[in-house]
């Protein structure tokens, strides 16, 4: 680093007020810290500085520090965020910055929560069904056909959408019935996959989205889209299209009538 750059770094330094929630499932509280901030830093840098200098046992999850792995999810000033993607320059030096664990999941310790809900839900979505009779290497798909699902596969599973979604955040009891935006999006991803053969195998993803994964709980208030660090348009491109696909199946009177008529002879 050149001297000039080092000089810049010095001049941009200040001491910030941080309030970090510390505790476990037994209880805890917001603790106040004063901590140095350098130019260009993000909230996760400050948390690391706290660890290295003032609170060596401060529990926090992190990994890539580049917004690609989705580990360092927390709530900064009450908003679900990736700490590595929250630049300190978005605050003024006099702000008090409050960092808490995700509030939709059981807390483990400090900023670490038990996100097993999400892994449970992941298991409940039936996997991709490969088309029969198409050998590996013979898959042919057009770019325009894969793009919709590719958008959803940008998901880094930070679970911020699951955290902010009021269906489960505000109603613990809905966790059994509702898969959450991330996994409804997974259903949409598979339903839009050009070669997914679920329908041929007797699995109707459109119907199960509503009947098994709780699509109806979603009231499309778009908080999932707002928090998504990958800027996936979860609501407009996954959840609403999925709702429309469920409508195709369940609320279309023509389809309904057709089913009635066809069922009668049985």
């Amino acid at each position: 680093m050149t001297n000039a750059a080092a000089g810049q770094q010095q001049s941009a330094k200040y001491v910030a007020n941080f309030r970090v929630w510390r505790g476990s499932s037994e209880g805890g509280e917001l603790e106040d810290f004063k901590v140095a901030v350098n130019e260009g830093e993000v909230v996760l840098d400050i948390i690391h500085r706290l660890q290295a200098t003032q609170a060596p046992d401060l529990a926090v999850r992190w990994n890539c520090k580049a917004g690609k792995c989705g580990s360092c999810s927390a709530e900064v000033n009450g908003r679900p965020r990736l700490m590595c993607m929250t630049r300190m320059s978005t605050f003024t030096p006099s702000d008090t910055i409050t960092v808490t664990p995700l509030r939709a999941f059981p807390v483990v310790r400090d900023l670490v929560t038990d996100v097993s809900f999400n892994y449970q839900k992941a298991r409940e979505v039936p996997a991709f069904v490969p088309p029969e009779g198409v050998a590996p290497g013979e898959y042919r798909m057009q770019q325009v056909d894969v793009e919709r699902s590719q958008e959803f596969r940008k998901c880094i599973e930070c679970f911020l959408c699951q955290d902010t979604c009021h269906v489960v955040r505000d109603h613990e009891e809905n966790k059994t019935a509702f898969a959450g935006p991330r996994f409804l999006m997974r259903v949409a991803e598979l339903d839009m996959h050009p070669l997914d053969a679920a329908a041929e195998s007797g699995l109707d993803r459109k119907r199960t989205a509503q009947e098994e994964h709780g699509l109806g709980y979603c009231n499309i208030t778009k908080c999932c889209t707002e928090v998504c660090p990958e800027h996936i348009k979860i609501t407009d491109n996954a959840l609403i299209p999925l709702k429309e696909r469920a409508v195709d199946r369940k609320y279309d009177p023509l389809v309904w009538l057709g089913n009635k008529i066809r069922r009668r002879p049985e």
């Binding site: 908003r79 839009m192 979603c218 696909r245 369940k250």
Partner: protein, 277 residues
């Protein structure tokens, strides 16, 4: 064992949501420091203003026609008690037994379209129902079943209101064409009202075609875009409009009220329609 998939063994206590016993014990319902209440407050105020205005106008049963302009609230006019509009969309389908304001007969459709619209749902769930009031702000309700039960499960019929909204928008387009007449029904004229109607109908169409159901019907339901290049292209256009669904929802809501208000001003004689030619 830390497999990450143990079902939550801990049972919920009396409190739910962010105060559930397993969650981090933070007394505050939210820790947001920004003005999160502003957006829902503006939404609620805007919608409320429209509801008050449109209720007054719909029930007033007066000042809705000033040749060549018919208020979009009263078009098509489907009862015998309608003011006769030469060449206009007044068809006496409901005959003479209908004694109330004829606006009520037709407003059901645009009302239903907007009420079940994916954008408006978000707006009023947040603004009026506080479900949620804003992201990561705990909602005040003890129970929540979303759109899984009656009546909210009926939101799923949005697409049929879309089907209905298209002919209604068609009729309003027809009204706009008729507005190229003068007060004596001579063609080839234009006034300020014509301009108001043109802006309104453009926004109505933009809102109608930016509808999520429309996007689905046009192409979203397809599995293979590559096999339907025309529908794929249309889907792309609708998608671009759909990005602005919120904007068109508000713009067309305001424009339709303004168009009605313009007709009211002219019909009540409070204002004279400036004629361009």
């Amino acid at each position: 064992m830390a497999t990450g998939t143990d079902p939550a063994a801990r049972t919920a206590g009396t409190e739910t949501g962010v105060h559930s016993p397993t969650r981090a014990r933070i007394a505050a319902r939210h820790l947001r420091t920004d003005r999160w209440w502003l957006a829902p407050a503006i939404t609620a105020a805007g919608l409320l203003a429209f509801v008050v205005y449109s209720t007054w106008r719909a029930f007033s049963n007066a000042h809705y026609y000033a040749a060549p302009y018919v208020s979009p609230f009263y078009s098509p006019c489907l009862a015998e008690n309608c003011i006769p509009m030469k060449g206009g969309p007044n068809w006496e389908i409901f005959g003479s037994w209908w004694g109330l304001s004829p606006a009520l007969l037709i407003l059901i459709f645009p009302l239903g379209f907007r009420l079940t619209c994916y954008y408006y749902r978000k707006a009023y769930y947040r603004g009026f129902w506080a479900s949620p009031p804003a992201c990561a702000v705990a909602e005040p309700h003890k129970k929540y079943s979303g759109e899984t039960r009656f009546p909210l499960v009926l939101q799923n019929i949005h697409r049929y209101f879309f089907y209905a909204a298209v002919p209604v928008a068609g009729i309003l387009t027809y009204d706009t064409v008729l507005s190229f007449r003068d007060e004596n029904y001579a063609w080839g004229h234009m006034g300020l009202g014509t301009l108001v109607f043109l802006v309104n109908i453009a926004l109505i169409w933009a809102y109608t075609f930016s509808c999520h159901s429309c996007r689905h019907i046009i192409g979203g339901r397809l599995k293979h875009f590559s096999k339907h290049p025309v529908r794929y292209r249309l889907w792309g256009w609708v998608g671009k409009l759909n990005d602005r669904h919120m904007a068109t929802a508000w713009a067309s809501l305001i424009s339709v009220a303004l168009a009605d208000f313009y007709v009211y001003l002219v019909a009540s004689g409070a204002f004279e329609d400036p004629r361009f030619f």
